[in-house]
Structures are given as structure tokens and as C-alpha cells.
Amino acid sequence: MSQVEKPTVVPLEHPRESLLREERLPHIWCSGCGIGTALNCFIGALERSGLPLDKVAIVSGIGCTGRAAGYIKLDSFHTTHGRAIPFATGLRLANPELKVVIFSGDGDLIAIGGNHFIHAARRNIDMTVICVNNFNYGMTGGQAGPTTPAMAKTATSPYGNSEHPFNLPYLAAASGAVYVARWTTLHVRRLERALTEALLKEGFSFVEVISPCPTYFDRMNRLGEGLDMMKFYRESSEIAHGLDPRKADIDLGGKIIVGKFIDIEKPTYLDFQQEIQARMEGEPS
């Protein structure tokens, strides 16, 4: 590597700058972590969606992914651990003009926030939930979580994890989500498209983003650097659109089923509310 290196730095603006709180960059995520890529794709999806961006609000919980809200230059809320979804529910119902997006991690949304997740899906509240799944709690140092594969090593499962993980697309679908997809941080184009679809879907839409955690999960399980994980996704991902999500389990080191699993129509919470309102107005008092 003794080539002549051409300077490539120019004082131009990154094309996504207008939606970033650029004064806060570089962000806190580690080298090789995929959360930034997921955020990058999400910003692309926001632009593609054509949504009026002043009416888009981002809500995050706590954890590495929970910091995402702090980097997006839109109305953004960094709430408490696990509570992004109920906070977003209040926001959405108070102002039906808003498009509300929850951008958070697997531990936040599915462990401590798991109850809120299933109930928001059941109600079919109009919101998009983006869950970056890195199979452990990164912020606190790599502890086991609700998506940690069985037998995987983490800071709190040093001999291997003796719990089964949640299969998130299956959980979301079973709870009532009308749109369910999973991609990895390698599948940037497909991920961006899926996020766009999810943003434009009425009702509870859910996109899981499988991401490397090179500092903790990948290191403790000897899976390599972030780049190695990305290569692993290239080799081990299997696209299976329309697959019954119960078949989308993820085992340690096993293949990763990706694709769009669910895309259905169902009345949303606000649809029912409007129907009730119409009935009340139609009734003679």
C-alpha cells in the first residue's frame, strides 16, 4: 500500500446532511457497528417516501440504537428504556397528522418494552417500528437479551445462553402487525425499499434490521469484525418473501432468512375511532 494517495476531501455536504443533526457527528456507535447503516437506509427511505418531513416524529428508547433519534434532524424523542412505543402512541393519537416512527433496539423494544410492542401491534396503531437487532445489549457491555441465540456467549451468558430467542417477525405477525420484513445491514437497497414501504403502510409496520455488534456479541462469539459479519450476511442470507415467519428463526451461525413476510390490510385503531365517531354523529341523541 504505497500508492500515491489522491486527496478526496472536499468541503461539500453529505447528501443526507439535511436530515442529520450533523453537529453531533461522528456518532457514538463503534467501528463496524451496523446501526449507522440502518439509520442511513432509514433516512434514504424518509426521502423516498415523500412524506411531509415536518410531520414525521422519531421516537427511540434506550440503548445503542436508542441514540438514533438524537441524530435525525426532525422532531425526535429519546424516551426511557422500553417505552418508545407507548410514548409514540400518545404522540400519534394526539396529533393524527403525524407520522410516528420508532427506531430502537432489540433489548429495548422486545425485552423491557415487549409488552408495549405486542399491544401496539394488536391495536394496529398507525406507526412504523424499526428494530435494529444485534443480538445483545451493546450499550451496557454485551449482555444476553431477548434475541440472543441459544448457546451464544455474552457477558451474562459466559458459558452459553440457555434461553430461546424471540423470532421477531413471527412475534410481530402473531401480534397483529400488517407489514413485517427483515433485512440485514448488508441489504441496503432492499432495506431502504422495505423501510419506504413500511413508512407508507397504514397501521403497525415492523422492520427488523440484523446488525453486527463487533465490540461485544461478535467478539464474544468469535464471529470477527463488523466486516466479517457483513460478509457472513452475504453468504448466509436467504431471501424468502412471503415465508411463514415462524420459519424465520435465527440460530447462532446459522442462515438468516430475510425478506418481506407480511403485507396485509386491516382496520387501524384510528379507523375504528373514526367509525365510532361517525356512528355517534349519526345517532339521534
Binding site: T8, H14, R16, L25, H27, G32, T37, L39, T185, E225
Partner: protein
């Protein structure tokens, strides 16, 4: 043996040309852009930024088609491409 089909309009279509830009201080040296550039524009350089991360550089800039993959796969919002000369090609959507 390969049986690639040749597109009928291959003679008429100009390949888009792009140029890669790097915001050095944001780069954390993950090498995603280098690995996944479909046409091998980027390579790791020996230069590093203030935080000690080795930066990518365009060793084969002529090959850049402005596909923007580096831009979207970069977790750091540190790299992007723009159309070169900006005239013969429209920017990507």
C-alpha cells in the same frame, strides 16, 4: 462457459461516471465501502484520521459509476459519490 446476453442498447447507453468524496473525520475505518463497492473503486490507504482510523481512498476512481452504494452502506455518513463533471449524467435519484 458463460452465456451472458448482451443488452440491445449497450452501444447507446453511456455508463454513469461518479466521483467519491470522503468526510475524513467521520470515518471509523470499517472498510464496508471498500469491500462492497461493486466495481472496486476503493482501497485502504495508509493514511489515518485524527482518531487513528485508516481511511479508504479511490485507487480506481475511473471505474466509479456513481451507484451510491458506498454512501448508503457507510454507517458513519462519511462517504458519498456525486456525478463526475455533473454534465453527461443526471444525479441518481
Amino acid at each position: 462457459m458463460n452465456y451472458w446476453r448482451k443488452p440491445l442498447d449497450i452501444e447507446r447507453i453511456k455508463l454513469p461516471r461518479g466521483k467519491v468524496y470522503l468526510i475524513e473525520e467521520r470515518c471509523k475505518g470499517c472498510n464496508f465501502c471498500i469491500e462492497f463497492c461493486p466495481v472496486g473503486v476503493l482501497a485502504a490507504s495508509e493514511r489515518f484520521n485524527a482518531k487513528g482510523y485508516h481511511l479508504p481512498y479511490p485507487q480506481n476512481e475511473e471505474a466509479c459509476t456513481n451507484c451510491g452504494l458506498c454512501e448508503v452502506i457507510c454507517p458513519e455518513f462519511a462517504i458519498y459519490s456525486l456525478p463526475r463533471d455533473g454534465k453527461e449524467e443526471e444525479p441518481r435519484e
